[in-house]
Structure formats: structure tokens, C-alpha cells
Amino acid sequence: MATERREVVEAGGRSGRLWLAPIALLYLIALIAPISFFLVMSVFRYSALELWVPTVTGENFARLLGDAYHRAIIVRTLKIALLTTIGCLALGYPLAWYLARTASAWRGLLMFLVIAPLMTGVIVRTYGWIVLLGSEGTINTILRGLGLVDRPLKILHTELAVLIALVHILLPYMVFPLFAALAGQDPDLERAAHTLGAGRARTFLEVTLPLSRPGILMGSALVFTLTAGAVVTPALMGGKDVRMLGQTIYELTMSTLNWPLASAVAFVLVLCQFAILLVYFRSGRRRAA
């Protein structure tokens, strides 16, 4: 393994850094610098005339955390992000397990079907859920046809609708890392557990599940951050009733033009994300040790 690696490296020469220069430059100029600048804006003073005044102030954060309206949005966003992560995990785990273990001839197609919705874009899938869940939609038509309800259920424009659509949209992001973690396991480990007398449930709980932990953490981190930053899905599925951080940022920059406050909201978002990533890397290190 070690020698093989050296040969591979020699085949490419010793110019590793040079090959990575374009992407490093691009990320630095177009990703890291702008995002840093945007986040620094959270301590600037808001001005209706100049948009922002570069003097350090804590008033944006004070306004954000002090007022009940914004606090409710933060709490709701965290709640929906958490529930979406749990939902994706509950649906994604059996799916990833099945895809990693099956010998079905349809495996390629089944994998394609998991990725296909990802490729159609957020708008397409959100629109599908609007058609399904609307008051004239498929679910309500079926329920009324069966005589289960006499008035259409209000599903659209509720937190539940946002949750369903987000789980659907983000499921592939959970399945990728889980699949990688599950397919990478040595099947002999499960067999060994069986030979040693462990039942199916115990083998799963003590061998398969702990070994797939990196996948679980990675997928959860991805889904949580992507939910927390969602704009379009909450706007279309939740309407005016279900506001989340993403929409707040969008409106603050595009209509209210209060960049410093928008930046403070984004800062809260990034902080949550860092907390999640910290958990991810710390547990990864503990596993290595």
C-alpha cells in the first residue's frame, strides 16, 4: 500500500500544489473572501443612506436576539432543521442499507432513482409537493373520494408541509454518506458476530450501526445545514405562516436592504453549522483514538 502510493505520487510528479492552485485561488477570491466580508458586516452599523457604516457595534445581534419575532424564527428554523435531519435519517438509513447490501440486478437503476430527484432541482420537487398537498391536490382528492374527510385538510402552508418537502429534497444528501459508510464495511464482521452467537438485532446494534457512525454524522451535518439555509421550499410550502432564517436573510437583503442585520442572521446560521461540524470532527477524532 505504502509503496503503491509512492509510485502513484511519482507518476504525477512533485507538483501537487501547482495542480491545486486554480481551485485554491477561486475559492479564496470567490468563496472565502466574500463570505468573510459578509459575515464581518454583522458588526457594522446600519444606515438607510449608505447601507452600512463600518463602525463596530453589537446592535444587530442585540436586535436579533432581543426581539421575540426573530427569536421565534431562529427557534423554528432549528426545530425544522432537527426534524428534517431525523426524518432523513429514518428514511435514508434503511434505503442506504438496502442499496449497500442488495444483490439485485436492479441496483444500478435503484441508485439512479435516488439521485434523479436531486438532479431535477429544488423548484421541480417543491412544485410536485404543492400539487400533491394542496387543498385541491391529490391527497385531499383521494381522502375526500374515500369519504375520510368532508373538508379539504390544510396541509400546504403548515410546518408539516415544509418538513415533508425538505425531507424529500434532502434525502439524497443523507443517503450518499450512509451508503459509503455501509458499503465500506467488511462483510466478514457481520458474519463473525453471527458465528459468535449474536442475533440479528444485536449484530446490527453492536457492529453495523457503530461502524456506520461517520456516515450518520456526515449526512446529518449536511442535511442540517442545508435545511437551515433553505429559502425557496419554505417560501412555497410554508407561505407567510412558516418563516425560517433563510427567507429572513433573503428579504433583509433584497427588499429591506438591511445588510448588517441580514449578516447577523447569517452569522447565527453559520454558528449553528460550526457547532454541528465541531460535533462531527470531535466524534471522528474520538473514534480514531
Binding site: 507518476a11 501537487g16 442499507w97 423548484i123 458499503a183 467488511d186 451535518a221 412555497l236
Partner: protein, 286 residues
């Protein structure tokens, strides 16, 4: 690390399938799993299927089951100047972003796989950065940068799309590069080829499937994007998803279903090509 994963994956395939081989995985267990997996697939595909159905619906409302069969919403789509212009702009933008992201992605993937002494690991995670950051944040920051640095907005839109496409391009090409034997390059170099010639005549033809899948994948990512375009599109630069989003805020006739059906067909076609070329399994690993 990915190398080990690959070895293990092939091991799973070569041996008898674990589901059958593990003693004690009984019939009921398999049936329950099968039912659960089927239900999950129904959940995944129902919204997409419903769009295709309702696009042939002759009435205004999104009723189900459809009361007849008609192509009127497709006709409406192709008659609408706004939607057609947005569709064409989206195609153009996706093409530009895909080519640029694939080119930069190849350089990065080659550097990661062949030239990074300690193996890809952490650096590859860094290369995946745009996937970890909410896209909302990327695009809003680019918009802010535009206010400070005088760059045309179109350039910012393209850069934003290249950024969100890059992780996918890198994943495709890394998967493809890891599958080819480094000895072939060594041989070319030993026989006196320059590094550039070895790259051009040995490496690039061998990773051609990876290139093509990267192109198609990034094309789809760019075509489906809303977040970057949400902040950076403007008059004459509206992408199709943004045009649909704007339309949907006011009304929702099946014309949206017709447009998205066209889009779904396009994407399924491209996806099947990728599956044939490299297999989506290799991309899912990352």
C-alpha cells in the same frame, strides 16, 4: 481512505450477497425491509410522477385524476417568450458552468489523486467546501462583493455556478482517476514522454468517461440551481427555475408542470448516460 473503501466495496460484490449469506436474516425481516424500501421509493418518486401526470391535464386547476389528455400546457410553454428565453439562458449558463467546472475539477482531481503525498483526505474535504456551505450564503456574498468590486453581474452568476458545480465535477473525476493504473503513466514517462504528453495521450483518454459524466452532472446541477440565481439574476439573465419561482408566487397552472416535465425528461436522459458511462455508484461514494 477511499482506496480502502473501494477494495471493500468490490469485496462485497464478489462474495455472496450479505442479505442472503448472513444466517438469521429471515424471510419476515427481508419482507419488512422490502416493504419499507418500496414505500421510501414511492415517497421519493410520487412528486415527480404527479408533475408528469398533471402536465397533460386539460383543466386550469391541478386536479387529480386528470379529466382528459391535452398538450395545451406544452403549447403554452413554447408560446411564452419569457419562459423560452429563460430556458435558453439556463441552457447556455449550464453549458458554460459545466465546462469551466470540469476543467478546474480535472486539475484539482489530478492534483489530489496523483500529486498529493499524503493522499486526498483533508484536502479533498476542503475541495468539497461549496457543498458544505449553504448556497444562499455563497450567492449573497457574491452579490455583496459586486457592490464593492466592479465586476459584471453575469460574471458573478457564472462564478457562483462554477463554485456549486465544482464538488460534483471533482467527485466524478476522482472516481474515474482512481480506477486507472498509475503504472501506465509511469511507463509513458519512462519511455520518454513529457509530462504534458503523458497527460494528453494517456491520462485524458483513460478518464474520458469521468470527464463526460462530470460535464453532464455539473450541467444538471447548474440547470437546477435556484439559490445562486435567486440573488444574481437580473433582466435578460433570468434562469428557468427563477422564472418558474416568480411565476409560482402568483399563480400555479399546469404550464409549470409542462416545463418541469421537459426538464425531467432532459435530466433522466443525461442521468442514464452517466449511469452507462461510469455508474452512479462511484460518484455516490464521495
Amino acid at each position: 481512505m477511499p482506496r480502502d473503501v473501494r477494495v471493500a466495496t468490490t469485496a462485497v460484490e464478489r462474495r455472496a450477497p450479505v442479505v442472503a449469506a448472513v444466517p438469521g436474516t429471515g424471510r419476515t425481516g427481508r419482507l419488512a425491509l422490502g416493504a419499507a424500501v418500496t414505500a421510501i421509493y414511492v415517497f421519493l418518486l410520487a412528486p415527480v410522477a404527479i408533475i408528469v401526470f398533471s402536465s397533460f391535464n386539460p383543466t386550469e386547476a391541478n386536479t387529480f385524476p386528470p379529466t382528459g389528455l391535452s398538450l395545451r400546457w406544452y403549447a403554452k410553454f413554447f408560446e411564452s417568450a419569457g419562459f423560452v428565453a429563460a430556458f435558453r439562458f439556463s441552457l447556455w449558463l449550464a453549458l458554460v458552468a459545466a465546462v469551466a467546472a470540469t476543467a478546474i475539477g480535472f486539475l484539482t482531481a489530478y492534483g489530489l489523486v496523483r500529486c498529493w503525498r499524503r493522499g486526498p483526505g483533508v484536502v479533498q474535504s476542503l475541495a468539497m467546501l461549496p457543498m458544505m456551505v449553504p448556497h444562499l450564503l455563497i450567492s449573497i456574498s457574491l452579490l455583496l462583493a459586486l457592490m464593492v468590486v466592479p465586476v459584471p453581474e453575469l460574471a458573478a452568476l457564472i462564478v457562483g455556478h462554477v463554485l456549486i458545480c465544482l464538488p460534483f465535477a471533482i467527485a466524478c473525476i476522482v472516481a474515474s482517476l482512481e480506477g486507472i493504473d498509475a503504472q501506465l503513466e509511469l511507463a509513458a514517462l519512462t519511455l520518454g514522454a513529457s509530462r504534458l504528453r503523458a497527460l494528453w495521450e494517456v491520462v485524458i483518454p483513460l478518464v474520458a468517461p469521468g470527464f463526460l459524466s462530470a460535464l453532464l452532472f455539473t450541467f444538471m446541477v447548474s440547470f437546477g440551481d435556484v439559490y445562486i440565481a435567486l440573488f444574481l439574476s437580473g433582466p435578460g439573465r433570468t434562469t428557468l427555475p427563477i422564472e418558474i419561482f416568480a411565476y409560482m408566487q402568483w399563480e400555479s397552472t399546469p404550464v409549470v408542470a409542462a416545463i418541469t416535465t421537459v426538464q425531467i425528461l432532459l435530466i433522466i436522459g443525461l442521468g442514464l448516460v452517466i449511469e452507462r458511462l461510469v455508474g452512479l455508484r462511484n460518484i455516490m461514494r464521495v
